[in-house]
């Protein structure tokens, strides 16, 4: 539905819609061109054009030196990427999905994230770990986990989770230019979704700052805080709720760590109600952190009801479509939760 709305506006305004994967591709292309220390490594990134075609055309343009196909050895190539970053390069390390990053997680946390601190500011690690995160469609339990909470737990990492094409482009460019380890969580189901791109996003120097959330829709009755694909769900729910006179403010976090608490607080102090929406599991998750932070800050006194978390179901992801559909937040779950929170 959202896709149709966007495309409809597109015809009207004659702006060029861009799919998320192409925005990511453009971001990497521009940064590879801008700085010769930047290179991409990962499985199938070169000759296959990327497992999800995100790096399409880059190998043809930049060659073997800058776009490197690796064997299926995550721990090894993630470590190699971190070492290269320590020695002066600026690698983009792709995980085919973040599920496989678990094999390399020691290199991400112990070799990348902690090193600047352990060396008291001597050794920086300018690296981006990117790839699709969270649920896909029908790929079952081992291929569907959301790692936002896992990585966002760790000091020394920045964790970014773009929603639309503009986010994808601007945030990836920022991540690549950042001198620190950035975990860049994409979403496979969003790769093929087209979005309007703003005028300024056409510039080769267009970046979106890491650590700043965006209010995608103004509202007065409830703050819906989300990241990645579920921002779409929130916007869709907001359209439905608007018909019943409930105006939702939808916040797109864009960055998980550092969390833009101020943006959430400002919103909550206006709407007095908070509902967080995420695809990950509920326990110790992104929503849990948001609730805790709101409690610790000025916005608590403005809450007219306890905050609500809408999350994935607390189970390993099943395969059958009906089960899978009911394992993740649906628009009706968001609508239901908003009404419960507003006590309507």
């Amino acid at each position: 539905r959202l896709k149709n709305i966007v495309l409809g506006w597109n015809d009207l305004l004659c702006s060029k819609p861009m799919m998320v994967r192409d925005a990511l591709n453009q971001a990497m292309d521009e940064e590879l061109e801008r700085d010769e220390r930047v290179f991409l490594l990962g499985e199938e990134v070169a000759q296959y054009d990327g497992a999800y075609k995100v790096s399409r055309g880059l190998w043809k343009k930049y060659g073997d030196k800058r776009i490197i196909d690796t064997p299926i050895t995550e721990m090894g190539f993630a470590g190699i990427a971190v070492g290269a970053a320590m020695a002066g390069l600026r690698p983009i390390c792709e995980f085919m999905t973040f599920n496989f990053s678990m094999q390399a997680i020691d290199q991400i946390i112990n070799s990348a994230a902690k090193t600047y601190y352990m060396s008291a500011g001597f050794q920086a690690v300018p690296i981006v770990f990117r790839g699709p995160n969270g649920a896909s469609a029908g790929v079952a339990a081992q291929h569907s986990q959301c790692f936002a909470a896992w990585y966002a737990h760790c000091p020394g990492l920045k964790v970014v989770s773009p929603w639309n094409a503009e986010d994808a482009k601007g945030l990836l460019k920022s991540a690549i230019r950042d001198d620190n380890p950035v975990v860049f969580l994409e979403n496979e189901l969003m790769y093929g979704v087209p979005f309007e791109m703003s005028e300024e996003s056409q510039s080769k120097d267009f970046t979106i700052p890491i650590g700043k959330a965006k209010v995608e829709r103004q509202g007065t009755h409830v703050s819906l805080v989300s990241h990645s694909r579920y921002v779409s769900h929130c916007l869709d729910a907001a359209v439905v709720l608007a018909k019943e006179g409930i105006e939702c403010e939808v916040i797109n976090l864009r960055t998980i760590r550092p969390l833009d608490v101020e943006c959430i607080e400002t919103s909550v102090m206006k709407t007095n109600h908070l509902v967080t929406v995420e695809g990950g599991w509920p326990q110790f998750g992104v929503g849990a952190e948001i609730c805790a932070r709101i409690m610790e800050g000025p916005a608590f006194n403005y809450l007219d009801a306890p905050a609500t978390r809408v999350t994935g179901v607390d189970i390993p992801m099943p395969y059958a479509k009906i089960l899978e559909d009911n394992s993740l937040p649906q628009i009706k779950d968001i609508i239901f939760s908003v009404k419960k929170t507003l006590n309507v």
Binding site: G76, G79, G83, M86, G88, L89, Y117, S119, A120, N180
Partner: protein, 450 residues
């Protein structure tokens, strides 16, 4: 006179049982003042010193006395009061036989002879002895509870660090695991900064934030606590060297325990595929913590574990053997042949760490035997003495100077203040604007700067 010198020369050869030649005594040139204790940072590129021109040598002591501590009666200019022998007496360069290295997938190995100048010998001695004394001082400080946490000591293995450094350039790269104090020194950090890091003070090389296992220096990437993780990092550093076309190599060290880690084999595969200039080096000190190599590895031929990667097994107790092997290895990598795997057979006198007495899984006799028969420092010293390259007094002087240096460093390390609490949250991110960090409670809003 020349006849006399030839006779003496031959006598010396017979006594030392070597076929190698000492430089003809008549080649010596005048020395006007004794050289200073050589600096650590001298590079291999230094040209060989010409031997000093001889003063009139008419009263050479009989050959047998040359290896004794007795003073010669020569009265030459520049003779220091403490050392009653003039430097003109000393052999300025000698060639030594070194053990043949076992090789894997190589047509030829490192040479069987190593040249050593007096200056090099004294330098290697000084560096090894400094590492030795520094580690023993760390042992002392740990037992006094001034150093805490993990402390993995390197004494016994000095020839590895010193031999490697002698073979590579400061612009090459090196990464190792947690038994890293020796390498931190050879890569350029002062003893006092190392000890102050162990005692957790602000003057430590990592400002007290890293500790024993996390010390860094230019082209030295630590100091890594997770067993084996440093090896892919080393391969990555080698990738950067190749990418940047700078003709540099990376030495990536690991132990016999880490040699079984999967990520090593992942690194071997990629390094070989992409011909990375990486010298993978196993410091085989026979024990991974308390587990001997026979109990941990199905194959203890660590130099062969790279399979398709050529390998060399080296006597890690002989600094010259290590040096020659690494010269060979560096040349192999620099010439674009790809990675190489080195195995250094060495030994640690201490247990795995300070909390391990090191005798429950090995015998005291074994430790004693290595100490008496294969100690790397003793071996070098004896070589130099028996070839008239230096005197006992000189070595004593060096020892005294080192003792003083280490003592002063320990003084510094125990008196330097701890890092200020304001620094607690700094250095989370590089090149970033200041950020707020949550403290232990919601009201503790701490500041972090890059």
């Amino acid at each position: 006179m020349k006849n006399m010198l030839t006779i003496i020369s031959n006598a010396l050869c017979r006594i030392t049982g070597r076929n190698v030649l000492l430089i003809d005594l008549s080649e010596y040139v005048n020395v006007t003042s004794p050289p200073a204790v050589p600096a650590l940072a001298q590079t291999q590129a230094q040209t060989q010193r010409q031997p000093p021109k001889p003063p009139p040598v008419s009263t050479r002591a009989p050959a047998a006395q040359l290896v004794s501590a007795q003073a010669d009666q020569l009265d030459t200019p520049g003779t220091r009061a403490v050392v009653s022998r003039s430097f003109a007496d000393f052999t300025s360069q000698a060639t030594f036989d070194i053990k043949k290295c076992d090789v894997h997938r190589l047509e030829e190995g490192p040479p069987l002879k190593a040249e050593l100048t007096r200056e090099q010998g004294l330098r290697y001695y000084r560096i090894m002895q400094t590492v030795r004394r520094m580690e023993l001082k760390a042992d002392q400080l740990y037992k006094q509870k001034i150093i805490r946490g993990f402390c993995h000591l390197y004494d016994g293995q000095e020839a590895c660090a010193v031999g490697i450094e002698a073979a590579i350039n400061p612009s090459d790269h090196l990464i190792t695991a947690y038994r890293a104090h020796g390498y931190t020194y050879t890569r350029g950090i002062a003893v006092k900064e190392i000890l102050a890091e162990l005692t957790g003070r602000r003057g430590g090389v990592a400002k007290g934030k890293g500790g024993s296992m996390h010390m860094y220096a230019p082209h030295f990437y630590g100091g890594n606590g997770i067993v084996g993780a440093q090896v892919p990092l080393g391969a990555g550093i080698a990738l950067a060297c190749q990418y940047q076309g700078n003709n540099q190599v990376c030495v990536a060290l690991y132990g016999d325990g880490a040699a079984n880690q999967g990520q090593l084999f992942e690194s071997f595969n990629m390094a070989a595929l992409w011909k990375l200039p990486c010298i993978f080096t196993c410091e085989n000190n026979q024990y991974g913590m308390g587990t001997s190599v026979e109990r941990a590895s199905a194959s203890t031929d660590y130099y062969k574990r790279g399979d398709f990667i050529p390998g060399i097994r080296v006597d890690g107790m002989d600094v010259l053997c290590v040096r020659e092997a690494f010269k060979f290895a560096a040349e192999h990598c620099r010439s674009g042949k790809g990675p190489i795997v080195m195995e250094l057979k060495t030994y640690r006198y201490h247990g795995h760490s300070m909390s391990d007495p090191g005798v429950s899984y090995r015998t005291r006799e074994e430790i004693q035997e290595v100490r008496s028969k294969s100690d790397p420092i003793t071996m070098l010293k004896e070589r130099m003495l028996s070839n008239n390259m230096a005197s006992v007094e000189e070595f004593k002087e060096i020892d005294i100077a080192i003792r003083k240096e280490v003592e002063e460093a320990a003084q510094y390390a125990t008196s330097d203040p701890e890092p200020p609490l304001e620094e607690l949250c700094n250095h989370i991110f590089s090149n970033d604007s200041p950020l707020e960090v949550r403290g232990t409670n919601p009201w503790a809003r701490l500041k972090s700067v890059s």
